[in-house]
């Protein structure tokens, strides 16, 4: 209480994104191999479902949370449940961005050049999810100050 500024810093730092490119060296080959296989397999499953039924039913599986399952399981093994639960909070916001991205692409892919539609679509995902995260961080850090 003697130094309110430092209290503010601690509660904010909890949420402020930090870019640490050096951490990429800590990425374990096995974890990345697991994700590669998950990602590749779900892509093929989506394509097979699309071929067996319709492309739009197959499309549902391109948003199958396979990577989340892989991430949550890997985090849970290496760290703890609380961290896995934190990851799911971020994933919720990322998934809302995913809806915006897929909606945009589905509306523009046949009218725009494909590269432009996909490029703007992924940018929309980034802007919506990071924007929601900023909002979440603001509200959560305010609450922790009270």
């Amino acid at each position: 209480m003697s130094n309110p500024a430092s209290h503010d810093d601690t509660s904010r730092n909890h949420f402020v994104p930090r870019f640490q490119p050096g951490r990429i060296k800590e990425a374990r080959f096995r974890d990345m191999a697991v994700r590669f296989v998950f990602g590749g397999t779900i892509s093929v499953v989506a394509a097979l479902v699309g071929a067996a039924f319709t492309e739009s039913i197959g499309g549902i599986f391109t948003a199958f949370p396979a990577i989340l399952v892989a991430s949550l399981t890997l985090i849970d093994k290496e760290e703890d449940r609380e961290h896995a639960s934190y990851d799911a909070v971020g994933a919720t916001l990322g998934a809302v961005g995913f809806i915006a991205c897929a909606l945009f692409i589905s509306l523009t892919l046949q009218r725009w050049a494909a590269a432009a539609s996909l490029g703007v679509g992924i940018s929309i995902w980034l802007v919506v999810s990071v924007g929601l995260y900023a909002l979440y961080a603001l509200l959560a850090s305010r609450r922790s100050e009270d």
């Binding site: 994104p17 870019f19 892509s43 799911a88 679509g121 992924i122």
Partner: protein
């Protein structure tokens, strides 16, 4: 043609997922890095392969299905934030697939079909 299509899907899907995972690794805290766990990596990879080998019409249909799938993904992520804490990683994830399936199906019937 068909074999190339599926091999292309596998390689593109795997590569895109690893790329997003590596980006995610470089960010702290976990809550922020978690955004990348729900990145449209498989969607983008799939669409690129479909556009190149089959054209934009099937890719566009696939993207509209992905809107329904993404609604399911939100349900999955909300459920798993609780379920992973309550159970363990794998079991919590599997439990969360129930709301994923229900929400995807409802969203597909309401929004896409």
């Amino acid at each position: 043609m068909e074999v190339a299509y599926y091999v292309g899907k596998f390689l593109a899907g795997g590569t895109m997922v690893v790329l997003f995972a590596l980006v995610s690794e470089t960010f702290q805290p976990k809550r922020f890095a978690g955004l990348f766990s729900a990145a449209p990596s498989v969607l983008l990879a799939s669409l690129i392969v479909t556009v190149v080998l089959k054209g934009t019409a099937p890719a566009s249909a696939s993207a509209s299905g992905a809107v329904a799938g993404a609604v399911g993904m939100v349900a999955f992520a909300v459920a798993s934030a609780w379920a992973v804490y309550r159970f363990k990683g794998l079991v919590g994830s599997l439990v969360s697939l129930v709301p994923w399936a229900v929400a995807s199906l409802v969203a597909y019937l309401v929004l896409v079909r």
